[in-house]
């Protein structure tokens, strides 16, 4: 006895609320909705980044009979059953940023591809330390999917001859808690006196590592790089602990994912390899054999441009 609302309702389910990255993606989603007209964005997510929390939310979204779910998953597998159920009930599922396993979604939109992201981070580190020396990785939790993929890529990239003088001495996990990340960073500095760079592919980690380096008076001796948001990193770029870091544009990512979801809802594309999906002002992307598509390379920020972008996201 439900009257189907006329608007297309697209729910954006993020890893956790209160995360600057996803807030920016939300901005992008709203932009897409405005452009498309007749689209309503429901922005939601659990408080702490847990798969169980996202499952609860999807459950309620299914009850609400939304038209599409755009999700950054906390667990590629755990969310598959519920996502499948959603798809059975006619809801389109598009994952972005941190993906779902293929059977649980129509499409995965990578901000960039993992190869590019991994290579980029190694390259930034290499540039900062002059191509030789010890480096270490400070990640989020050991369960973070995309972090793990990037770390895998980084390890592979390091096998290349041009990086033969760079040695990865440790991978540690700060669980995205500032105190633990800080302590782990200090631990790295202690146990590896020769350390030249810390790569932190997570925003809590890169912030904590920068602070640790500054507090230990190692600015200029140890460089921090990785992935972070300009608004959160601006201070540390200024302090000198970070020379450059990278991130893709989360606004674009949110925009594109929402736009793509709408395409699926309208039946303009089908989820099959090789399909081309329009992503509005960003052109179009093509699905690969896994149903994945990527936007572009990550963007690099440094002292020259960070302030400008800090105001945006």
């Amino acid at each position: 006895a439900e009257k189907k609302p006329e608007k297309t309702r697209i729910a954006m389910v993020v890893k956790n609320l209160g995360n600057g990255f996803f807030d920016a993606a939300h901005t992008g989603a709203d932009e897409a909705a405005k452009q498309l007209g007749n689209v309503e964005v429901i922005y939601t997510g659990p408080t702490t980044p847990s798969a169980e929390g996202q499952i609860e939310i999807i459950n309620s979204l299914i009850s609400q009979k939304v038209d599409a779910i755009v999700i950054s998953a906390n667990d590629p597998n755990a969310l598959v059953p519920i996502a499948k159920k959603a798809m059975q009930r006619g809801i389109k599922v598009v994952s972005f940023d941190s993906g779902l396993a293929p059977e649980g979604r129509q499409m995965q939109l990578n901000p960039s591809n993992a190869e590019l992201i991994g290579a980029k981070q190694i390259q930034m580190a290499a540039d900062e330390i002059g191509g030789a020396g010890e480096i270490a990785i400070l990640s989020a939790s050991a369960q973070a999917t995309n972090q793990n993929i990037w770390i895998g890529v980084m390890k592979k990239v390091l096998e290349k001859p041009e990086y033969s003088k760079i040695k990865l001495v440790a991978t540690v996990y700060g669980d995205d808690q500032s105190d633990k990340s800080y302590r782990e960073a200090i631990g790295l500095l202690r146990s590896h006196p020769q350390l030249k760079a810390i790569i932190a592919p997570t925003t809590v980690g890169i912030v904590a590592a920068s602070k640790a380096v500054a507090d230990e008076h190692l600015v200029g001796k140890v460089y921090v790089t990785g992935l972070g948001l300009p608004s959160e990193m601006a201070g540390h770029v200024k302090s000198g602990a970070v020379k450059e870091f990278a991130i893709w544009n989360p606004i674009d990512l949110g925009y594109a994912a929402t736009y793509a979801a709408d395409q699926f809802v309208k039946g303009k594309v089908e989820a099959k390899p090789g399909a081309s999906v329009s992503v509005g002002r960003l052109g179009s992307v093509t699905l690969d054999a896994n149903g994945e598509a990527a936007l572009g390379p990550p963007f690099t920020y440094n002292a020259d441009n960070v302030d400008k972008f800090a105001k945006l996201f």
Binding site: L17, G18, E184, R190, S191, G235
Partner: protein, 332 residues
């Protein structure tokens, strides 16, 4: 023999032993800088463990400290970020005031409404944490938004020691004085030993409990500012789950969950012990996947060592065999 039976010296020995053992494996750990960092790193935990100790002594528990810390820290960070030119002391005062207010809510519910502490603080823990999100809209306050003096204060040095250490030392002295030399403090022990009896002899239990949770809240508020300044970032999830670390520090320090027993020295050593573990594991390059399991094991071992002989006490009615032939038991 007697020394071994006391908790504090044993715990102190364990801390020293642990530091030395880690130092043998990884000499860098014993460098002056590293040890100084260890002390600095322990400060927040020490401060929170001390007030938690007083709370536990009254047979209570304050599960809301970490949420309180996050909320006060967020208030401080937002004041720093959005009210330019606000003098630092005022910001700190605001953080303490927020913490105090939150502590008073706990204290009122527990003292005046006589509700069970674990339930009350379980509730306020969720509420305070949620309030951080509501207040900040979920947004971060990052380093560049905070004034430089705001961020620099905790680690700036006075007479060679960071402010953090001075503040912790002052807290330690204050708590030692409260616990040992004030009626307020002694009343807490009486309340913890026998809550009903405390009422019979005229101890104003309600006021005392209010004061204890208020103190716990105020210190959590202070730590809130110190935390966000030290790590130069404030967001909803800071110090998530830290309450259990604080309680674990107390428990390792010999503070009895059953109330009435606990010393300032013990709580401090318990906090130091956990800090050493937390710092040693990364330095020793223990696999990150082992860290949680090892921490759990260490807590259990420390608690077991603490508990030796504290189980069923038996009395001594028979004359002791040995030197004293005649027992002096019935003194009356």
């Amino acid at each position: 023999m007697n020394i071994l039976k006391q908790r504090e010296p044993l715990l102190a020995a364990m801390v020293v032993l642990l530091v030395v053992a880690v130092g043998l494996r990884e000499p860098a750990f014993l460098s002056a800088g590293s040890l100084a960092n260890l002390v600095t790193d322990s400060t927040l935990l020490v401060m929170l463990a001390l007030t938690q100790m007083l709370v536990i002594v009254t047979r209570g528990v304050d599960l809301s400290v970490a949420s309180n810390l996050a909320l006060s820290g967020m208030v401080a960070a937002m004041l720093g970020a959005h009210v330019p030119g606000l003098p630092l002391p005022l910001i700190v005062l605001a953080a303490v005031a927020v913490g105090l207010a939150l502590g008073l809510i706990n204290g009122w519910l527990i003292g005046y409404l006589e509700l069970p502490p674990i339930v009350v603080t379980l509730g306020t823990m969720s509420v305070y944490r949620g309030a951080v999100f509501v207040l900040s809209g979920g947004a971060w306050v990052s380093a560049h938004q905070m004034p430089a003096s705001f961020v620099a204060f905790p680690l700036d040095r006075l007479l060679g020691l960071p402010h953090l250490v001075w503040i912790a030392a002052a807290t330690l002295a204050l708590m030692a004085w409260i616990a040992r030399s004030t009626r307020f403090g002694r009343d807490l022990y009486a309340i913890g030993n026998a809550p009903q009896c405390a009422g019979y002899i005229g101890i104003p239990s309600r006021k005392r409990l209010l004061g204890t949770y208020a103190l716990s809240g105020a210190v959590a508020g202070l730590c809130g500012y110190l935390w966000v300044a030290r790590y130069a970032v404030a967001y909803t999830e800071i110090a998530y789950g830290f309450e259990f670390t604080v309680i674990a520090a107390c428990v390792i320090g010999g503070v009895s969950i059953g109330g009435g027993v606990g010393t300032v020295l013990g709580a401090t050593l318990g906090a130091l012990f956990l800090t050493v573990i937390g710092n040693a594991l990364p330095v020793l390059q223990v696999s990150p996947f082992w860290q949680s399991a090892l921490t759990g094991l260490v807590i259990l071992v420390a608690v077991l060592i603490n508990a030796r002989g504290a189980g069923r006490r038996s009395r001594q009615i028979l004359p002791l065999h040995g030197t004293d032939a005649q027992p002096k038991r019935s003194a009356a």
